[in-house]
Symmetry: D2
Subunit: 145 residues, 4 copies
DNA sequence: TTTT
DNA sequence: TTTT
């Protein structure tokens, strides 16, 4: 009956968003995001980087493809979803993704110069669209990330 | 350009939601929420309770008034907002509230029996409404909590 | 230089925690956690359950093994980590886990009856510093901000 | 019995941290933090800024006083606490603060030049346990989940 | 594959 | 009182 599934990330895009238009006109975007943590190990600074698979649907995908690029710092809020797919050898595999529910660009304005009206917190439309996330992703279980 | 203002609470309602209908038909609900923390002090268990002022607008207010009651356990996500108002003696005071963006009822199903279709995660409509939060709250700076 | 990798879950344990003691005396516990989301699809209520692999280390693993059991409702905070391993056929696989940083048991007290001194916010050593927070602030109620 | 009280903020310091040393040697630091939200109102871009009172204790206060300054962008995680105090006229007042539990500096390295070894996720003692997480998991890459 |  |  109840549950909370929430992910909060701040990190840099490893690549430009990759955008796809599914049958029916639904837009989906995805990109890898790196979150780095620095800690001390035996007096030395060690950096540990974790890579996350970010997926965005519909309006949020479109906004992301417009404003986000490789290297940008971004705050992302979303939920975890693990889905299975078959690789080229027909082996069943699992991948865990973060389905974004909203995002906010961080850092200097100059980082986002190409956007004349930089949106801050993509909310309204993007969140509505998200409600339909389950349908399209089911139809498209073999979506390559 | 950027900013995140997010609050996540799990706690029990201290009272039933209090519902008001503003001019223009906007619904606003509010209630106190208690979050308790237990810690050790000199070998003794001490419970520390913190009270939060929760405010919900429009669709979210209506759902809350239907499904939430005093004593229920609830997950609330929202943002902080501090606003000023004048008390009866015309003294300017400040109050910090959590403007809910969504909520989820936790605990046993029997706790929510009165609801035939218990909603889990109020999202769509509720989030849209939230976009207009600033207007009504400005019109109503003297809203008693 | 910077990064945030945070997961917040509220869900039910799918199994009792499985505890292992590594060489060197380190304790590690793990269990699957289900988070459910209910939404409307074509006017019907659909429940979507997501399973998460939770891993806990050291003190947190020990507390978890003592107080958590299959079916219990729990709040978990942690971070995402994807690691690779070889399966029985020597095929390299990936799994994404949530490394817990603290947890709190939710639900009725009776759910945790076996624990005479139900801890609220379990994070073992990690939270010791935090536990003394109240003292100084009490001594200093007039702290000018 | 249970409760979660968590605040997540990303914003800019409005002032340098103000540091105090209490009797007993406890360090406490505080500063105002601004989180800004931009939204559309009647086709115009409106910026709404919220100010938060951040308080840090002990080790975290010391790290903050060393590395944070007015204008810096920072991620802060903490909990809400409302406390009462008497103002100069002996009137009882309330103030809601965010007691920081850890913070991470965001933005360009040049923003933190004065720190030769910029720490990433500062939470002093509170995170020591966490720092050794990586070791054991590496030793145990084949940990069956 | 990012960033510092 | 910050930032874009």
């Amino acid at each position: 009956m109840s549950g909370i599934n929430k992910v909060i990330l701040v990190g840099h895009l490893g690549k430009d968003p990759e955008v796809r238009h599914l049958d029916g006109g639904v837009t989906v975007a995805s990109f890898p995001l790196a979150t780095s943590e620095t800690y001390n190990k035996d007096g030395k600074r060690v950096e540990q980087t974790e890579w996350h698979n970010i997926v965005l649907w519909r309006g949020l995908a479109e906004v992301a493809s417009k404003y986000l690029q490789k290297g940008k710092l971004v705050y992302i809020e979303g939920k975890l979803r693990t889905r299975s797919f078959e690789d080229k050898e027909k082996v069943k595999k699992y991948v865990t993704e973060i389905v974004a529910e909203n995002f906010t660009m961080l850092g200097r304005k100059s980082d986002f110069e190409q956007s004349p009206t930089t949106p801050t917190h993509q909310s309204a439309e993007a969140k509505i669209e998200d409600e339909f996330t389950i349908g399209p992703s089911d139809e498209n279980g073999d979506l390559p990330f």
